[in-house]
Symmetry: D2
């Protein structure tokens, strides 16, 4: 069995600092945390089912066992396993690529022998990923990368299914590290692959069990923050295994940003404000990929959309797509850039009564919310995630999610989009695990173009989309392999 | 004071029949019940605030008094008045036309002397209407037209403001008629105008107090069912006052159906299923105005939309707009016609696994839900308003709202759209109250074109839209009055 | 043979007046003259082929005979028959409904015995109509309704095929009436049906051969002017046969105006100015059906579109579709209303340098071109149909088609749209010819709804669009006949 | 004066080879020849004005002098100068960036001392570029890069304005090289900059006057072929000056391909076939940037668009945008890829009667036209650029431009798009001319990101688009210079 760390003891000097600056870190990391808040807040989310649980005993203090007698897990309530299984089954229907990988794995087991330790959001979609990794031959141990985002019933279903899961919704920060430690610090089992989302698991092993890296073949990292940390390690010459940056793979970027935001901007606004889009005057700050998605959706719904931009090339694209440039005093304000203080107090002073302000950007610094925390302004919470900020003359600004990211706070992310990400993670694990030693050094890599194309191709059958195949003659004419890759690595396909 | 009817006594022979066939009647009436279910079900709805009330005493058995000592009302809980007032204030911001009418009423009081008895959904939007009628000079007494749709906190705010309101969420059917009776059966006060939604109030007066019609100047009716009843009365020669059919006014029809459904189809689907629209294959049955709205929205979100139609002219329009005609086995099924058994069991037998089926139509008969209630199919409730119907081979159909109208069951209706309807009601009351006697006979009328145009014009400032005025020369050339009406009565402006 | 009227003699007192006011009359009639100018001006038009003909002899002075020896026609040049036949064959491919009618006519000949005299544009599309009428059993004699619009090679093909055609491009006004007279004034043949476009043929028979109406079963009239004349005759009690107004049939109005203008606005602007649409700021004056088509197309191409409106309901629709209301000083001005002096000199004084001004409206009075014919402004013809009007400070306004209708002057009308009109004409002829006497009185009628639906249904196979059929149960539920009509006569289906 | 090469003498061994393979070369070069064919073929093109010239004397045999007595040029007819000047003035209105450069040049002359020899299409747009270069301080001598594309009247206006232009429409190939030689081989003047389009000028200097490169500071090359040649020279170590590849600059690629094709697909189809887009079933082969533009435009016009793709990522994008994957037997076929035999005979055998086939791709090999040149198929030329290919059973395929590029053959390219390219050329010349010696080596370079952004920014005022400026704080936060570049060099902004 594992060595149980003492409850109060897990505190290193540097880690305390970490906790002290935690608010910042969390906000920067939240980019990759697409599931966390949405699973808590969203309408109809299954998670709410488990909220009413009035069982106040800490999971760490409970005796837990699944129906087969296995006790190597720690979750909220194993009785919710059936409900969690149903949620997982629903998710499976929207994750065709992983299901396809499972089918192929009936013959070959590309992850046979892999011992994967993971630290991600624990949701139905993650469960589909974990069960796929298992079907491909891997053993898995898992902790949550966020103290709020665990779907307890899903964790129960995983535990019931034999996975060593250590996670529950509402962990304390001490619980958080305890769970991670339980994943790695176990007798007779040592991980050879890491799947991380935020870098905490990697960080923990670096600090506590550095010798484990001798057996580890690679790290797959999902989040902006985690990737940033890896690049810093690499620069400092301290990265001791190859790492795959899946956050920046083409499919993830294109589909997550453009197409997902095109839907979630509408969803987030409706769920919070029930606003009518038709005829609404909207400013979208920033015409990058997120901004393009927001603009396209709002225009299609009959809004009159204005943009702002700093980059003349993106600005010229906005012109050709028929967007005007912004006045300040409009009715709906959407911020879609990753920047600081894009919407400052001065602008908000000049906005019209009733203007809705929200953030679809990359961080939480775009709206200068701090400048609204002044005595002359009154805050009124009118709904969950919705505040009226009231000026002395009675003018109201409707602020959503206190300036945090609207799509993560107030809408859900379609499972199909998460499917793309999860498939990318699975393939990255397979690639790192099976690659000949010479292929990857102690550095951070992007997923090879060809695997990016493979992720896309696995999602095409859902749409009844069939690819055209190059003839030998055509392939020769174009100088391409008939099976791809079809574009150079630097290529970024246009989005329209 | 009023004569309190004895609790068990309000039962006429014909009324009993009415109750017996109630399920049918409700379903037919639900067209105009845009607020009822949405206020109960919707995410973030204020109504949920009051759900947890565990006060089981019937409002009829409570002593109630507002802060000024007035007791001529009967609601759930006067203490919720402050919360209700905030909801009303939020609604006011999206109802510019009524607010504009109030401003104009500072000089003239077009409803001075009017005694209006009303029976509608009691929501924040209705409250804005009632307070506008009051500002225009009218006295109002009000009951709910639906036993579930009352927002208790709004009723409280109205009662606190001095209105005689008789309504609460969760009335029994006996309560329902008791409340209506309390509105009309009061000493020293007799209504001279009726505002009805569904025809129950009108029916009650016909049955119990027919002599009241001597003083009544007119009826304004909002719903399909109510209008239908009025036409029947008219045909039978029994309509004894003029009635205004506001359900069929142009602005209501165009904006409610096309533009509102364009938004609510997306909203309803997201809130129930979190489905991704991009690339989804969808069949929309019926390319009338509702179908046009659904098709436009889904196409704009990247869905591949197929239609079915029975009318070749609408079908040709669908062709020119780029819609194909349907295959049966697709992934998302939207029904948008008012018809019976449009989606029959045979179709559902052939649908793909995971197909979502929902109804945006006019009645509840479009999807043959009864045919799914057979032993070989398993029903599984996966979320509120979402059932999986499972075929013996494991295929699942996702049925929303048990086949009832999606937009009323699972999404909200924007206040701005309700504003158009409420303004039409207010203008119809003003018109009937002030019209010279000769203008309207004992018949059912549509709102005059010019007033329809006026309703529209009152909503234009919200969009910063300014009309062009005809010059004298142009007006003469076109043979029009410079102030309208600009189109003949029969004209129905195209929707694009 | 016919009595040849003497060349100089065809001048009645009232007719002279007619000629004097001709410019006005032509402009009002031009609505229905969709083919005339386009066939002369358009790129790639076959008509240009025959322009270079330097044969200056008047057709009236030539001996003409087709290959079978028939000489009962008068056209430009019988040798062009082969070329004309090819043009007709091309048109046939886009006129599926007429071809379908021909097929059905193999059994029944609904126009057997019909003697139709026609006066319309003589183009390839008209030829398909005439040959269809012939296939349905009718005899036809035909003249041109416009002195410029005849495609000489098509007239040649018709003459070669045995039709008595009297028309050529570039008739004098005397020729015009002579040709009409040759159609009707012929020994041993008397028309029993009239197909008119503009009312000149009808007028001529009224004036010269009123007794012919004894045998005439009806008039089918295509143009606004002609319809207007018929209604005046009807009002004055002088209409002595039934007349069918096909100009106002639903299919024609919807498809001609909305969908056709959606394409021709782009086409007309490109052919004249090669302007880039992306990012162009455009004002569209009037948001009726033509305006809706123009706005939709320009918005889709990335233009920023502003509108003006006088009717608040149309204005509110524009709001919900996301259009702003206009500033004056923009770059592209499209006029889409039927009105007078919509764009006045004052506006043009304030437009930006380079602004393009064009007219998509119903008449030629929308742009006050007369106000630009002043000494301080310089006109420069830069291309066919394109003038620069230059202000003293060097500012240039680009005026298209001298303010006449852009789509008729500078773009072509797709044959498929003309197919709808031609089918409507054919069905109107069949209906009037076969209707029991009691059905139509001496009045002006619209095409019955059911036939409108039939016209639409004949065009659906082109799009592979198949209608859904009502079940008996559904038809009963809806109170409809399974074969239509599906909508009441007053219904105008929304356009979106 | 220049040494006049003898007329028959200009034939080097390797050059003959060049001529022998010319057909291939021309087709590969045609990518950059956006003006050539369009200026010849397009409706309303000014070029047609000069076609009728029956003066058969070769310009080389004429005495030519402009009004100031200058004779250092060789063109068709100096008398057309006024007409040409008007064309140039029209072009100036759509080329705001060059006009802005001229204004700035009133102070500084960044090209003072530059002696530019150019070889490009000679059109109104080029004239605006040349006169801008002149205003910036440069001396220019110019030849045509294509024997057909010269607008004679523009050449006349340039000659009248003092430019040494050697070009006319309809040069022989001998004339072609003679003109180039006249540009460079002149006493007392030696070029120090080259602006080339296709590489012929560069090639000529390499062959004949290699020593000239000692004084040459750089080459700016516009075309795919020319760039390809330069890269080959560079690889072979033979490139002796820096060269700027402007063909691949971001602004050119994005705006030329996506936005320009979005408009020209519609324009080209209308001008050739007058086809109605609404409801037309279309296959677009290839969903790259050109394909995206075509798909977006056709969908917006109501066509039903299907795609084919070989690359799964582009295919998945097509799915999310709502495009289905293709059947073969549709009505309109658009080819948008650069590949060989995309549309083969087998497909065309299966297409429906009346199917239109055209090529929007990168080369002329996409449609296997050769396979249609067989005895059993009949070709019928029905219009300029339009052939009917007729199968034995009567089926017709409508082939446009004999499979060559539709947008170059049958539509015009908006001046505004050419403005972007011309501005890029001007800036590349300025950059190479002024760069410190160390900056550029003997290699091929892309325009620096910052200058790309500058090109875009110079075109924004046309749209009234104003950029937002970064605050110092924001710039620091993002790690950017406030004046750009705003994106890394590898960044390719999404297109939507």
């Amino acid at each position: 069995m594992h060595k149980k760390p003492q409850r109060e003891s897990i505190q290193f000097a540097d880690q305390k600092q970490e906790f002290n600056k935690r608010p910042t870190k969390i906000s920067r990391r939240s980019l990759s945390r697409s599931i966390s808040q949405s699973s808590t807040d969203s309408y109809g989310s299954a998670a709410s089912y488990t909220d009413s649980s009035d069982d106040e005993t800490s999971p760490r203090d409970k005796q837990q066992k699944n129906s087969k007698g296995n006790a190597d897990f720690c979750i909220k309530n194993i009785k919710q396993a059936d409900f969690g299984r149903r949620e997982i089954e629903i998710a499976e229907q929207e994750m065709p690529a992983l299901m396809a990988l499972r089918k192929r794995a009936q013959g070959e087991k590309p992850l046979a022998g892999a011992k994967i330790v993971g630290c991600t959001h624990i949701t139905a979609q993650t469960a589909v990923l974990m069960e796929t990794l298992s079907a491909l031959g891997a053993q898995c141990r898992w902790a949550a990368c966020n103290i709020y985002s665990t779907q307890n019933e899903v964790a129960a279903a995983l535990a019931e299914g034999g996975f060593s899961v250590f996670a529950w919704k509402g962990e304390s920060e001490d619980d958080f590290w305890w769970c991670i430690d339980r994943c790695v610090n176990v007798e007779g089992w040592q991980p050879n692959m890491i799947l991380d989302d935020g870098g905490d698991l990697t960080h923990w092993i670096y600090k506590k069990y550095p010798s484990m890296f001798k057996k580890i073949k690679g790290i797959v990292e999902e989040s902006v923050t985690g990737v940033h940390r890896l690049y810093q390690l690499s620069k400092a010459g301290k990265l001791c295994v190859p790492a795959m940056n899946v956050n920046d793979s083409v499919t993830k970027q294109k589909f997550d940003n453009l197409y997902c935001c095109r839907e979630s901007i509408l969803d987030g606004l409706k769920r919070t404000t029930d606003v009518m889009f038709g005829g609404k005057q909207v400013v979208v700050c920033g015409y990058g990929e997120v901004g393009k998605g927001c603009c396209a959706a709002l225009k299609a719904m009959g809004s009159i959309v204005y943009v702002t931009e700093i980059d003349p090339i993106c600005a010229l694209q906005a012109c050709f797509q028929g967007f005007s440039f912004a006045f300040i005093s409009l009715l709906l304000y959407v911020v879609s850039v990753g920047n600081k203080n894009v919407v400052v107090r001065e602008y908000m002073d000049r906005m019209k009564n009733g203007c809705i302000v929200c953030n679809m950007g990359h961080s939480n610094t775009e709206i200068d919310v701090a400048s609204l925390r002044t005595p002359e302004l009154t805050w009124e919470r009118v709904r969950s995630q919705v505040d009226h900020v009231i000026w002395p003359d009675g003018k109201r600004i409707v602020l959503l999610a206190e300036g945090r990211l609207l799509n993560l706070s107030c809408s859900t992310v379609p499972t199909f989009v998460l499917s793309i990400t999860a498939t990318t993670q699975a393939l990255a694990l397979i690639e790192l695990y099976n690659a000949p030693e010479a292929r990857y050094k102690q550095d951070v890599y992007l997923l090879p173009k060809k695997m990016d194309e493979y992720v896309a191709s696995l999602h095409l059958p859902t749409f009844d989309a069939h690819l055209t195949e190059l003839s030998d003659e055509q392939a020769k004419y174009l100088g391409l392999n008939k099976n791809g890759p079809f574009k150079p690595n630097y290529y970024r396909s246009a989005a329209a």
